[in-house]
Subunit: 389 residues, 2 copies
């Protein structure tokens, strides 16, 4: 298996858009191709992520139409991936594997979603189809409920009062909004306070409005190439050092929601392939769909021991300039936004931008190694990618 790199990245602004999925993805893809100093005709395959275009636009089988809109050659296959919110990360992992194998030299990969455009009721209901339809849906659960349960379990397991834990969770939202305010493409570009978080509407007790990421529209894309080719194309290729992906069943089989075993499994595989450990990570984009989700993630990824990550944001460790791993410098799902099919690709875009030293006001100084972490459903899919400059 040969070395693989990302040559170029592209991304639309995240937020509310009146453009179709095909239009948004084309914008992101053409930017990624252009920044790779390539043309659409150079792409040898398209790996494409989208979750709910069938519900939102009546468009199943979107990959070949995206392919055509961008002007890819007929001989370049177009393949859709869907792994709920981890969709684009899974697509990128598979593109990297096939470039590493020598099947392709250059692959366009990414994702798109119109989630804000759906409106909150339809988006909540359709997103919840990533729960188990037989065992979970009949209980009425949606994702805020899943992470509310995890919050209660975490507080009970580690002897925290909910009031204390909620204050630490609020600090996660405050940090990610602080970062997002520095990201010109973020859905929300304003800082918030702990008081504002704790004064928000109750969504799923104990989660309040600002514990939750928004529904966003947006697309992101990257061009993956063999490392040799990427070095010829661009000055600062970013290398794919390792990937991991794991699967878990419905919540009743997962038992302890405070330990995300699928994430521990996936990240262990990615670290192993990269020949590194959590201590080597300088910057991480991880799946903070809810504030509690970030706390669970920094523990499962090995940045903190189980039960020790809850106050990382409060202590400033995960903030830009903090002494720990900088977590979600893009603003994360919380502030940058969460167009589900695009999210993993946007995380890769951010890490590539950071490792190239091109992140402007949100640059993590001296970042050499970055980690992408994306969660699909209620921990059913986890995909991790280690990138290095």
């Amino acid at each position: 298996m040969r070395e693989v790199a990302i040559a170029g990245v592209g991304m639309t602004p995240f937020g509310i858009s009146d453009r179709s999925n095909i239009e948004m993805f084309s914008d992101a893809a053409l930017e990624a191709i252009d920044r790779s100093n390539l043309e659409p005709g150079d792409m040898e395959a398209l790996f494409f992520g989208n979750c709910l275009g069938d519900f939102e636009e009546g468009q199943l089988h979107m990959a070949p139409f995206v392919h055509s809109a961008i002007g890819l050659p007929m001989a370049a296959p177009a393949t859709r991936f869907e792994s709920a919110c981890a969709t684009a990360t899974v697509a990128i992992r598979h593109a990297a594997l096939l470039v590493a194998a020598g099947v392709y030299d250059v692959v366009l990969v990414g994702g798109t979603e119109r989630a804000a455009a759906m409106g909150t009721p339809l988006a909540t209901r359709t997103f919840a189809m990533a729960c188990h339809a037989q065992y979970e849906t009949p209980t009425g659960i949606t994702f805020p409920g899943v992470f509310a349960m995890a919050t209660h379990m975490y507080a009970a397991k580690y002897g925290l009062t909910l009031a204390d834990l909620k204050r630490h969770m609020a600090e996660v939202a405050v940090k990610n909004h602080f970062h997002g305010a520095k990201n010109p493409k973020a859905h929300f570009r304003k800082e918030i306070s702990v008081e504002k978080v704790l004064g928000g509407a109750m969504i799923a007790d104990p989660l309040q409005l600002l514990d939750c990421c928004p529904f966003s529209d947006g697309a992101a894309a990257v061009v993956i190439a063999s490392a040799d080719k990427a070095r010829q194309l661009v000055e600062k290729p970013v290398f794919v050092a390792g990937t991991g992906q794991a699967a878990a069943g419905p919540l009743n089989l997962q038992q302890d929601l405070t330990r995300v075993r699928s994430r521990e499994t996936a990240s262990a595989a990615a670290y192993k392939q990269a020949g590194i450990g959590p201590a080597d990570i300088d910057v991480c984009e991880l799946h903070d769909c809810f504030t509690m989700a970030e706390i669970l993630a920094i523990e499962a990824l090995g940045f903190y021991e189980p039960g020790r990550g809850f106050d990382a944001a409060s202590r400033g460790e995960t903030r830009l300039g903090g002494k720990g791993v900088t977590v979600n410098p893009s603003g994360g799902l919380k502030a940058k936004g969460h167009p589900i099919g695009a999210t993993g690709a946007a995380q890769v875009v951010e890490i590539v931008t950071q490792l190239r030293g091109e992140a402007g006001g949100r640059q993590v100084g001296g970042a050499r190694v970055g980690l992408v972490d994306t969660l699909g459903g209620d921990f059913g899919t986890i995909c991790n990618i280690v990138l290095r400059r």
Copy 2:
């Protein structure tokens, strides 16, 4: 890239089922695993195909739940593919590529769909989401209309009367029902006559009811392994000799519907990788969603020159024992049935069964090389796989 083989196959009966997608796929998968002399714990990844489980069962993100139901290990990733009716073939192609690359030694792959369960109106409407939502859907077109247009264009281009062409098309249906009657797992197991086809209800002029495949429920799965491993596991592994996949845009860009350029492109890639040509194929399972679709396929796959395939069934050449390539000995989509997300895997199951000489009353004598051909949408995706014993 190392040699890859199929160790075991499994398939539910196709037809009308009261079992869920997860249950049906589990049945097929456990059969495939068992016939490979393996256990679920031996699977290193699941590549899973499904198209419309979100509409039919409210289940997005089905792959990890299937994975859990079968008992696969957490470290084995579960990834969903969707390429409309070519879904499972595309999943199998990617599984074969990653086993060839040495990323995995053993992969479970296949697909499932509850299409009969949807009922014809919802199935027709949701299947049609594989047309282009912006350029095609507003015209009111669904797939019978696409192939009706192709039929008119074919008749006009080659100077045939519609009455003549329709009689030859009816012979395709008669042949595939003749084959399907010999397949214990086929949705329709009865022979029909040309008169019955020509007396059927009009669906989309000139296509009548028996020109159209049914909506079916069902699942199919295969275990793909390195050739070395497959030889250790089973007596008669079947080898993946070549694969191809191509993409095409909306119909307005395809122009001539009588020439399926995406199929010509995909099959050329598969033949090239296998080091063979159309003349080397003994048996073919191809995408006869409509009788006209089989005629277009046998031409684009190179078994007949363009404009020369319309009377192949009438002349008995594509029938069991005919002098040409035996086409759709399983009964094809027409008689075996068409649970869209499972169809490509079922085609592979049939070719493997044929190459092993285990097809009973529908056995193609001395078959050594087989071809799978699956079409997604209105020619947006084509995937071909060459198998050899």
